[in-house]
Subunit: 427 residues, 2 copies
């Protein structure tokens, strides 16, 4: 397969065609060493943050949520071997380690190669800083076992019990082409051009080995993942993610985000499970709903995001407080806040990391907009699934949303310096 | 028609249903007076710039190009009267004057109204600053005369000679649904959520009177419009807009951007003409082209953006310099730089204001990406059209691009304080 990939054919990443063992030697070479990152003086996104690619956990999970997203799901091409899949993950890891440092995908990069050959890097991020880029790589259920039971890469026995196929949820209107995937890459950055550059070049590196199945751009983070971040608003106009698990809540993160060695797949220790849901909002219907109805649906007030039981944004909702009009509880039992609250879900929490999206408009002139929901959890069977089942069953919000895309991925632990994401899976 | 519009029915903008004369009284009320703009501490786009909506020219033309775009083209609904069209333009102007100041569309806004009524504003920009938002309003050829000659709003005699129907260009593969439009709004901001909020709320205000025909999000400005801005890169990976007309070049701006009273439509004096072209790049083909071929196509080097005749980015191209290999001129006559250069177009220039776009991927896994080209010119018959004809005829770049959307709009002069965009058209 590598013959059909421009990058691989020329072995530019120092990995492909040299076999697995030799390939690993190429990792990390040249990171930070071959050219300085020039400052981005032109745009507004002067974010100079940069996050390491290597580490115990992959970046892009508890990392302070960046403002922009390009997410891509890939299918591995027919005929690709186990070793070629390994090489792809090595190539991606190597390139990602450079991209997250604000570098081109290879030392030769966009402009340093031969005039007679295509450049290694497409070049549109030259002159831009890392802008907080994180590249988070995952593997989907279909990599382990296909629907007809084929063990494509000899991985069937390695499938984590937590990497389930998501069940059908009431009201799901999933588009097959916008769901699933053998592999995924989540690229988050404070500059969309940097995130797009990462996905484009990683897709290019995959050429002939894996191809884009679906992809999604997002532009406004809807969840804070650290205490220092302001809560922003989703396209319903409400603050979103107030009660999110925060990176500083290390006990909650250890309990609810990171997979442990004893969870059923030792190779996933330090990893997590990502659930992606593309939720289209019927915003015209929402926009015609009264302020009172909107607040009842959410269970919070629109101005401040305080629970309708009183207080301020970060006050805990009190489901026992009665409404001032005497007509029942202040927070409706079928409000989003009530149904999603850990108290009503055996303590289950999610680390959410969603983004707003607008994909143009439909033929009726309605904005095709909504929430690209992303969450990380330790075991979707105990966390995402029961919470979503409760919501799908009775959430007052269901009238205003339509789930059109769905996927789950195992997010392996981070790679150690010189290693690659997925190494523990193939060990 | 206004019965079907939530906003208009309640007269929330103080304009609709009160007639033209009375309506104008509502304009500008409360701008900056009703609530403070709170700082946006959460995102990276801390841009605190704000541009006035009122002025001799509309903002968003020579304004320093912001980083993000949401562009929308609208069709006026059947049965809408001339007066209702005027009211729509008044409503838009009033709302835009508030939005560009970082405010909700009305004093009541997202949260200050009755619990029993839908909020005036959808709310997702609450807490965000103006972020350099500009709202630029235009009118298309079909507002003046339809294809069958109907004079829908009594405007046929007011149609500017320069507001032509664009001719077919060689290689055009236009999608009708992504082309044309009776009205347009260009919303530029350094925060995409602010630009999206503007288009969403202006679309909502138009409900029942005009509906979205097509819309486009863009994320990386490809042209500087002031000398202080760094030249950024398009998705070919090349710097774009190096030779763009800059706001500081007042003679060039007066000559090539602003319509004058003697140009054939006195009401357009101080306005301009906007051409929008959605140009999909066949980036996989481009990415397989050699660095030498890419540079030959553009006529500049990829690293610095210098013309192939030598020098640095801002050195004037010299079309007489021979290539070092002796095989002809250093800058190919059919390169993009040569064909688009004013010297080869009777001195014609364009103020470009384009954006990169990625609209997901197609079913073959190719990114649906390219350049959303926007340019302002005084008369497309002497500027955009001949330049584009030269490019379409022989540009080496044609192999790598596909024009899929096209539109032209007259951009009226700016409104004076308390006035509205389009006032001179209907005077």
């Amino acid at each position: 397969m590598t013959d059909s990939s421009g990058l691989s054919r020329r072995g530019l990443l120092g990995l492909v065609g040299t076999g697995v063992g030799a390939g690993v030697l190429g990792l990390g070479l040249g990171v930070g060493a071959d050219r300085a990152v020039t400052a981005h003086a032109g745009g507004s996104s002067g974010a100079s943050a940069s996050y390491p690619f290597f580490g115990r956990h992959q970046s892009g999970i508890v990392t302070a949520a960046q403002d922009r997203l390009h997410f891509a799901a890939f299918d591995v091409a027919d005929g690709v071997s186990r070793n070629e899949l390994i090489e792809l993950l090595q190539d991606w890891s190597y390139a990602a380690s450079r991209l997250t440092a604000g570098l081109d995908v290879s030392p030769t990069g966009a402009t340093g190669g031969s005039l007679a050959a295509p450049p290694d890097d497409t070049g549109e991020a030259r002159g831009l800083p890392a802008a907080g880029l994180t590249v988070t790589i995952g593997v989907g259920p279909t990599l382990f076992t296909t629907a007809d039971g084929t063990d494509r890469f000899g991985l069937a026995s390695r499938r984590p019990p937590a990497l389930i196929e998501l069940p059908h949820f009431s009201g799901d209107q999933l588009i097959e082409a916008a769901s699933g995937g053998d592999l995924c890459i989540q690229a988050c950055s404070d500059d969309p051009q940097v995130a797009v550059h990462a996905i484009r070049n990683l897709s290019r590196i995959a050429f002939g080995r894996a191809s884009l199945r679906w992809s999604q751009l997002g532009f406004g983070r809807t969840s804070s993942t650290t205490r220092g971040q302001t809560t922003l608003r989703n396209l319903f106009g409400f603050k979103d993610g107030t009660a999110n698990v925060k990176a500083e809540d290390t006990a909650a993160v250890d309990e609810g985000v990171w997979a442990a060695a004893g969870d059923g797949a030792g190779w996933m220790a330090g990893g997590s499970y990502l659930v992606a849901r593309k939720i289209r909002m019927t915003i015209e219907t929402w926009d015609h709903a009264s302020l009172g109805e909107q607040q009842t649906v959410i269970g919070r007030d629109k101005a401040e995001g305080a629970p309708l039981s009183g207080g301020t944004e970060f006050t805990e909702p009190d489901f026992t407080v009665a409404a001032t009009d005497g007509g029942g509880p202040a927070i409706a039992p079928d409000s989003h806040v009530a149904l999603a609250h850990p108290r009503n879900n055996d303590g289950a929490t999610l680390l959410r990391r969603g983004y707003n999206f607008v994909d143009g408009n439909d033929e009726l002139g309605r904005l095709n907009a909504g929430l690209f929901f992303l969450c990380f959890n330790r075991d979707a069977r105990r966390q995402f699934v029961p919470i979503q089942q409760a919501l799908a069953r009775s959430d007052r919000m269901s009238e205003y949303v339509k789930h059109v895309g769905s996927a789950i991925f195992a997010i392996p632990p981070g790679a150690s310096e010189g290693g690659w994401v997925g190494e523990t899976l193939f060990a």
